[in-house]
């Protein structure tokens, strides 16, 4: 694996950051430098780790549930014209609503704990997964379908043995998007109401002018998202590559 380029980019970003801090000479509660943040990160490592675990759990559950719901919806839509007529407009309309605005009501419905954060993550990834997989399912090369029909295949067999495998690369790109969106969903959920998680920690640190801790939590969240994205990328590589 080539680490040279990402490493260089990281060092460059840190230097830039430190440069801005030194140049502007802002107080550390407005803009802390990378060293200060690293110190805060180390000093609060136990708290950060604990809250990372919480947010990670919300994201993972949200990702699994949202992907499963999205994939199931796509298959349902692709196999039934009635479902397309009745459900598709609704799906598109819900995307026009700002999902963030729903966060307070989700807290009301699913409580203060894990449930509302998972629900938020599910809501935010459901559409990208559904829509990319559905597009893939509706774009099966016509030749495959002709061939299958001359082989007297049932609609069900065509769906599961031709259309679904042919659409897996599209599902893979949906899942990769979902891996990036899911942490955003979970953190929004935490902002609206929670007592745990990285989003909560960020709010708490911000409120107490512990900007260094806020940055430490935010960077941890960023790392978590990047890691998740890489893992999902790896897991879906076969899916995306083979069924081209």
């Amino acid at each position: 694996m080539k680490l040279g380029a990402p490493l260089a980019a990281t060092v460059f970003a840190l230097l830039l950051w430190q440069g801005v801090v030194m140049f502007t000479a802002l107080p550390r509660f407005i803009l802390p430098g990378p060293l200060v943040v690293a110190e805060a990160w180390w000093a609060n490592r136990a708290v950060i780790a604990e809250n990372t675990l919480i947010t990670g759990l919300e994201v993972l559950i949200g990702l699994v549930v949202g992907s499963a719901l999205g994939a199931a919806t796509a298959i349902q839509l692709a196999s039934s014209r009635t479902a397309r007529v009745l459900v598709q407009p609704m799906l598109v309309f819900t995307q026009a609503l700002p999902v963030f605005a729903l966060a307070p009501i989700l807290t009301l419905w699913f409580g203060y704990g894990l449930g509302s954060k998972v629900a938020m993550a599910v809501l935010i990834i459901y559409f990208p997964v559904t829509s990319s997989f559905f597009d893939g399912l509706m774009r099966t090369p016509g030749g495959y379908l002709d061939l299958a029909r001359t082989m007297q295949a049932s609609r069900r067999a065509i769906l599961w043995q031709i259309r679904v495998p042919a659409a897996l690369p599209s599902l893979a790109s949906g899942l990769r998007l979902a891996a990036v969106y899911a942490p955003i969903g979970a953190v929004i959920g935490e902002w609206v109401g929670s007592s745990r998680g990285l989003g909560y920690l960020m709010l708490l640190a911000n409120g107490r002018a512990k900007t260094d801790l806020m940055f430490a939590a935010m960077l941890t969240l960023g790392l978590l998202s990047v890691l998740l994205h890489l893992v999902v990328r790896k897991l879906t590589a076969r899916m995306a590559g083979e069924a081209r």
Binding site: P141, R149, M151, Q152, A153, A157, I162, P165, E242
Partner: protein
């Protein structure tokens, strides 16, 4: 396998009221190769798709029937210009696709025998992307044969191949499809002259049957009579287009 039937296509087709082809009568002789030759857009593929029972987007006013009185569509195997191999499945799984789609257990012995006959015995577990164009089309031919149908519909299956591979494939196909009723749709006069036992040229005005070389198909690529037929067919195609 019971003996292959003769197939008759009678009728005309139109798209939104605009005629695609005038009423015609095409007879596919039992157990023989019929070549349907024509330029692009004259509806020759539509004729083939009608026989296969596939959607055409055209309204067909007529009838398709078999000499034995049974339904035609379930008894056809179809092969197109695109090999239509599923990229995620290996050669063996592609060749047995029909059985797997119908929920039947593929005949492993038959699979081995057919892969051997098309020269892919050592490639059974390769993905299509690992094969050459000629090998891919041979895999598609094996898949067509695996279906063991009496009526074989070929929609320009060799036209994307290079000249040498195409000639090889033509010979292999004639050898392996012996005894079946074959319809080959093509735009290549040379292919029709080499393989046809009946040759019909299709245009908007209808169908014209042409004289066929006396030697048995597949004719040698340098067979004089075959080359003369090829020339005559090309001339006819150009006249029709004018």
């Amino acid at each position: 396998m019971t003996s292959a039937p003769e197939i008759t296509v009678e009728g005309g087709a139109s798209i939104d009221g605009v005629p695609l082809f005038a009423p015609l009568c095409l007879v596919l002789e039992a157990g023989k190769w019929t070549c349907l030759l024509g330029g692009s857009g004259v509806g020759k593929s539509t004729v083939l798709r009608l026989i296969a029972g596939l959607q055409t987007g055209a309204f067909f006013d007529g009838a398709i029937h078999a000499s034995d009185g049974q339904v035609v569509a379930p008894r056809v195997a179809y092969m197109a210009q695109d090999d239509l191999l599923l990229p995620w499945a290996d050669v063996a799984r592609n060749v047995t696709l029909g059985a797997r789609l119908r929920g039947e257990k593929p005949d492993a012995e038959r699979l081995d025998r057919l892969l051997g006959r098309v020269g892919l015995a050592d490639h059974a577990h390769k993905k299509p992307s690992e094969l050459s164009g000629g090998q891919r089309q041979r895999a598609a031919l094996a898949r067509t044969l695996m279906e063991d149908k009496q009526i074989i519909l070929l929609d320009e299956p060799f036209s994307a191949l290079d000249a040498r591979t195409r000639a090889d494939m033509q010979e292999l196909a004639v050898e392996l499809l012996q005894g079946r009723t074959v319809l080959l749709v093509t735009h290549d006069p040379g292919e029709a002259a080499r393989l046809g036992q009946t040759i019909a040229v299709m245009s908007q005005r209808g169908l014209e049957h042409c004289a066929v070389p006396s030697s048995p198909a597949p004719r040698r690529v340098d067979d004089i009579e075959m080359l003369e037929t090829q020339g005559a067919l090309l001339r006819l195609l150009r006249e029709k287009a004018a």
